[in-house]
Symmetry: D2
Subunit: 345 residues, 4 copies
Amino acid sequence: MEAMPTVSIVGASGYSGAELYSLLSSHFSIRVGKLFANTSAGKHFHEVFPRFSPKFATSKSPLFEQYSSDAACSSEIVFIALPSGEAMRIVPELLQRGKRIIDLGGDFRLKNVSVYEQYYKHQHSSPALLNQAVYGLPEWNREAIRKAKLVANPGCYPTSALLPLLPLLKEKVIRDDGIAISSLSGVSGAGRSASADLSFAEINESVKAYKVGVHQHTPEIKSVLSELAGRAITCSFVPHLLPITRGIYTSIYAPLAQEVTPERVDEIYKSYYAREPFIRFSANDIPEIKHVTNTNVLDIGFRIDGENKMLIILSALDNLIKGAAGQAVQNMNLMLGFSETEGLL
Amino acid sequence: MEAMPTVSIVGASGYSGAELYSLLSSHFSIRVGKLFANTSAGKHFHEVFPRFSPKFATSKSPLFEQYSSDAACSSEIVFIALPSGEAMRIVPELLQRGKRIIDLGGDFRLKNVSVYEQYYKHQHSSPALLNQAVYGLPEWNREAIRKAKLVANPGCYPTSALLPLLPLLKEKVIRDDGIAISSLSGVSGAGRSASADLSFAEINESVKAYKVGVHQHTPEIKSVLSELAGRAITCSFVPHLLPITRGIYTSIYAPLAQEVTPERVDEIYKSYYAREPFIRFSANDIPEIKHVTNTNVLDIGFRIDGENKMLIILSALDNLIKGAAGQAVQNMNLMLGFSETEGLL
Amino acid sequence: MEAMPTVSIVGASGYSGAELYSLLSSHFSIRVGKLFANTSAGKHFHEVFPRFSPKFATSKSPLFEQYSSDAACSSEIVFIALPSGEAMRIVPELLQRGKRIIDLGGDFRLKNVSVYEQYYKHQHSSPALLNQAVYGLPEWNREAIRKAKLVANPGCYPTSALLPLLPLLKEKVIRDDGIAISSLSGVSGAGRSASADLSFAEINESVKAYKVGVHQHTPEIKSVLSELAGRAITCSFVPHLLPITRGIYTSIYAPLAQEVTPERVDEIYKSYYAREPFIRFSANDIPEIKHVTNTNVLDIGFRIDGENKMLIILSALDNLIKGAAGQAVQNMNLMLGFSETEGLL
Amino acid sequence: MEAMPTVSIVGASGYSGAELYSLLSSHFSIRVGKLFANTSAGKHFHEVFPRFSPKFATSKSPLFEQYSSDAACSSEIVFIALPSGEAMRIVPELLQRGKRIIDLGGDFRLKNVSVYEQYYKHQHSSPALLNQAVYGLPEWNREAIRKAKLVANPGCYPTSALLPLLPLLKEKVIRDDGIAISSLSGVSGAGRSASADLSFAEINESVKAYKVGVHQHTPEIKSVLSELAGRAITCSFVPHLLPITRGIYTSIYAPLAQEVTPERVDEIYKSYYAREPFIRFSANDIPEIKHVTNTNVLDIGFRIDGENKMLIILSALDNLIKGAAGQAVQNMNLMLGFSETEGLL
């Protein structure tokens, strides 16, 4: 019997890293190797996330370790869940040593280094790798992901916007410009950090838009839409912060390029997504975040406003699963030749 | 010394009615007469809203009474805070008996009876009054409100969309079509009613769009925009329900009709709203609901997305105050010749 | 190969019923038979709980059916998740027809019919069965549950109080009277019902104690404590309603019967619960609801206040799992001879 | 006409400081002088708290300034809303220069310096002032407060426990020991600070007890109970953190010293509090936080558990008002000879 592949996580003590560990530890076909987390090194996983406290002394939860490339190289696949700007420092060596990488951060999602530097506000130390990275949206890049050495796992907001928009752009039902993407996110999307702005007393009973026009997911959405549609697509993206812990709700206002019926839109989604295990769509139902929480599912609904020549598309996902760790496992399943849904149902 | 005018509230045991009573009871220039609430008749106000429990037995809170037009006619102004379809049954007699009315519901906000019946799903029993009613948006209808017999107090969502849009439409900075209005509302906007869908366990940790394209505030927004702009305006309106109690956050995506600078937009708002006591706008700051909670203020912010030729406008208000009871008091102040801000600062 | 046992749920469209279906449908050793829910009869499960919407038309979620004893009798075990007063009407026939029953409601938890009628405010139609019912607290009644025909699954509050208290009463570390149990519950504990008092706008940003001294779980706690301790135990129980969806947090103030060290308390818990798969205890850590949400785990922590001669015990559980559906599955596992943790890890 | 007294706030950019400014700025008989806030010095008040953004450029909100004793001495009364350990450094000079002080922090609430140092975990630099400070609980210390130079404004938790307990201890209805105080607090009680533990994602959908037995309000409660009751009182105090922004709910379990009727308890509260403007009590109603939010009111309810010989007392207050800034204004009113309710209704 062949040994099971081993995978490791760099940055395992953040929300995405912990969700990833949680998913991977109940995956039957891989073994979790190292959990790297520099600030928590020396602690057990359950000391940082007590909900994982083991019942028996003999089944201790794993240790967080200080990152070292040697230790990371004991794994076949290395997941990286670090703040942007940090993955780029460790990826080159890991690639050189033959490791395959799934980066949950933003360092390798854009092809254009100057756009990266404009939005992420720091230099890119490995611009040569940008073209090598495969954008890890399985529904649209499945074949490339299977063979990829370096997968850039999509952002949470982009996942919620790209999947509903792409079939409609492909079929030219909607126009290439004038699209408005209005996204609402729970607070876990901002990561596990100390900030007075994210404190309960500041977030509760309020809502705000933020980084309007300058959020780093804006160029990600535009460039992937344009690349996959095969022509320049422009859109406005406005993220909002909500008093919920998990979930993204995205409302898209897309000017129609032609008259269209609900049946036609439904048919288009069917032709692209009928066999996709993690995309549900409906011509009748309107998505709600609670229908997708704790799942890898993206829900899509829509309405046509004929008078205003507008297609209104609504989507919902769990930002930590389909928007991060779940999609990363989906990518891993492709890379290792497993069933795409393994560990995700 | 002249006697102070007396005002009454029909439907005083709902959220808007109670907020109205709270505002009116600390207004120095009027006297609160009758509080009508058929389902709570016979109870004291504080028995339904214990936060108003008086300290001393001698200062009992007022009684809810069964509605009668005779009792209502002891007041100069009658506020109506009833579900749609109910105001139209009592307004004709009150008008005939010389009372002035501020209706916080939707019965008299539309001019077109067939549009009313399409969106409100019941017949209108007093269509002749639709043209007589004055739309109670003080910043745009001040003179008509002063003399009005019947004021239709604007809806909460429309207030949040109309005030930011109107100056830009007047100045033809934005196009007349293709506008998208994405609104987020707290649960108190749905009123004080028993519904499994509004229970905490259903609302918390979730978000949903609802009544997409069929919400009764859609024709209100369109018709008032068109009337005040002086030409047909089309827009799409999508309301969303959020896990907060109070507040509306509206994000508007308006295609630009011309190139424009932030300075120009700021100047336009200044020229329309600089002296408005309840509208704050800023070229820099992004509104947040918590900045306006428990106030009669509407906050406006904006960003220009030149590449996508889109003006992004953000507004926030308290749905029970500027979106309902506060605006009603503002209208009353105009009708009775008081300072517009009395009882609202 | 023997056929897998079939189980059915009566009252499957409430929160506990749905949680139960969710747990049972991923249990490898049983087959879910009928889902009875009179008000939702004819609908598919996912029409009421869209998060269970199937991806493919061929994998439809099950139908809710009108209850009939004939249909129920096609199962080996019948779970009942009905409001109190309803189970007692169907249990006698099911027992007579040889079915084994796990009742998640309160109808068979008390032995004393007059206490039942005092607290539940209606007559008991099958008082003879009260003595036959086995109280389904696996950690204390394991052997009786294995053979039981009728299991009364414990209440959510009682589970959170009984498990921490019983070892200390057994060892006479705490006094038999003067115990105060202060419990905080999420709103899902009140069930899935239309009530203005449970609406988000009423619950959010508030807390209240309710049914102080008259909650129906009061006699359940007292009678089980007394029965299992072997002598009369008195305590005061105060439930509070919190703005969270799931979870119970119970703080117990138990007067000490003797001087005691933390080591001794820890040792007592160890001697009773070291091998219990679903009870975690710690002399250092303080429980938090989020550590147990979506699990069948009860967490216990404690502190000794020597000066006030008080043992302070804190516990946390998920009211829908260890407080209802999870414990019911634990009982089913015992009744059917499966591993107690199957379907619950 | 005499000039209005001027008051200043040191630490005006925290939650309590801002609430205090908000209350004071609508107080008719004083003038707000300086707002000191070292970390926000140079900013206007509304830049830190945008809800106070002025409408007109001419009515700028006040500036935060760097603290200096010279600047502070331009006021008659200096409010201090600093973290514990900081007030003690500036109080001696201010007293020496003849200023009267209301300290909202914990530095002068305890008489015993070694207890202070044990619970606050730092040395006290002005122990000689501890005996000079007057505990600012107006309902019990009114005369001393009127003349006080240095008022120690009570903690939020202690206010919620002392006011309900003191009349019952005075009348010896409850025992002097075995009292359990279980308090639930909103997150604003922890102040306006950057902490991963207070982030929305950590607090939402959870509850935890914290600092069990070691919270710094424990000795405050015990010492004030003992001093005002005139004999040693012992109690256990457990604070819990809840997902709400404002409010404290305290459930007290007090062993009865004698048999008592609800009428007798009601009568006792009446005899102590009937004329207190900010205390409401009821033999029937159970307090809820939402009934007191944004008010200076403390609500008290109770139930007698005769079988367990326990008096159960429930109280609710707004931690930023009756638990901090409102009570501070109440104290100021006494010190300056104003009506005690001025600025607080």
